[in-house]
Symmetry: C2
Subunit: 206 residues, 2 copies
């Protein structure tokens, strides 16, 4: 990692813990192991560091999103993988999404940072909603839409199904962001939730 990258990395960690306004450039420098004035050889201001992080993670998200099943880019293709969907596959999808959001270094810190900045910056608010609500729900809407058409699932509004599938996962994610010790309980609840979800909507037997 270059010094510039290390600055962004440490700054992201600090911003995600305390929020932009409560992180001092000296703290970022300390974390990197240099003195504050040296930062200004890499970035022209504190705000510049913040903006660079937003841009960098935006890039990563667009690259990774489709592969993990978050946005709608290629859900039509993915759906074919789900044609022989079983309860266990559905549980895996839910758990994987939850654990990716919770543990991926960038996703986790980025989400927390956006959480702390969302009410001050409308652009960040929109970005948060896109990444952690609109995109996942849209993606899953497409999946359930296909599964309903294939008569693997009972007929129901796939958008509502996606909302019902995703919301407990998201809600438990915010709980675990506040209290990481809740992770095991959360994973269990997600499993039970999805078993019940499948029992409500799935036509296939267990």
């Amino acid at each position: 990692m270059t010094t510039k990258e290390r600055i962004m990395d440490e700054a992201l960690t600090l911003f995600s813990q305390k929020g932009y306004g409560d992180v001092y450039v000296g703290e970022i420098a300390d974390a990197v192991g240099i003195k504050a004035p040296s930062l200004y050889k890499h970035f022209k201001s504190k705000k510049d560091i913040f903006d660079a992080i937003i841009e960098e993670i935006g890039k990563r998200y667009e690259e990774q999103a489709s592969s993990i099943g978050i946005n709608g880019n290629n859900s039509m293709e993915d759906a074919f993988l789900y044609l022989d969907i079983s309860e266990e596959v559905l549980i895996k999808i839910g758990k994987d999404l939850f654990l990716y959001f919770l543990h991926d270094g960038y996703m986790s810190r980025f989400r927390k940072m956006l959480t702390l900045e969302q009410f001050r910056n409308p652009d960040l608010a929109m970005l948060y909603t896109k990444q952690f609500f609109t995109d996942p729900v849209e993606y899953q809407t497409n999946i359930f839409s296909i599964l309903c058409n294939m008569e693997k699932f009972k007929e129901a509004d796939p958008k509502i199904m996606a909302l019902q599938f995703y919301s407990p996962i998201y809600t438990l994610l915010t709980v675990c962001d506040r209290d990481p010790k809740m992770e095991k309980k959360a994973v269990k609840l997600i499993e039970y939730h999805i078993r019940q979800f499948n029992s409500n909507y799935g036509k296939a037997k267990k």
Copy 2:
């Protein structure tokens, strides 16, 4: 309202928008219509204002919680009100909870303030989870537990039912906190969600 109360009120508004660290005592004073040093006749420090708000709202919550159906204090009694529960009653419960959380002046600002402070203060993190996850889910768990026993609802784990009932409401609440223009869409989604929820679990006809 006394000056002390007005200070707390304006401070809560500012803290909920920008977070504690980015609100300056001068801003609070401006909002109240006095000069910064005058604040110190009412509170001994900026932190003291913050702590007073936490305590005050904690009091309000405990007073109001049971009446609006948030915590578990008297859900057993309330459940009898729901014995002749219909889809429309269920929708009303969901919408009312959503709109109370979203629009109640104290709830709304307090939730946003806790959102911005949750990662710095473990006590506030616990408080957030209690008020916006544990208490509502527990309350609804009791309700669904009774409705299942009364055979108004199909047999299923009432805790999972509560999670599934509440999570979309909570998720949409956080969306609307970021973008108040989403309220109408959110209310519609909640309505459809609950209709579907009732169709999944309810034994009674529409």
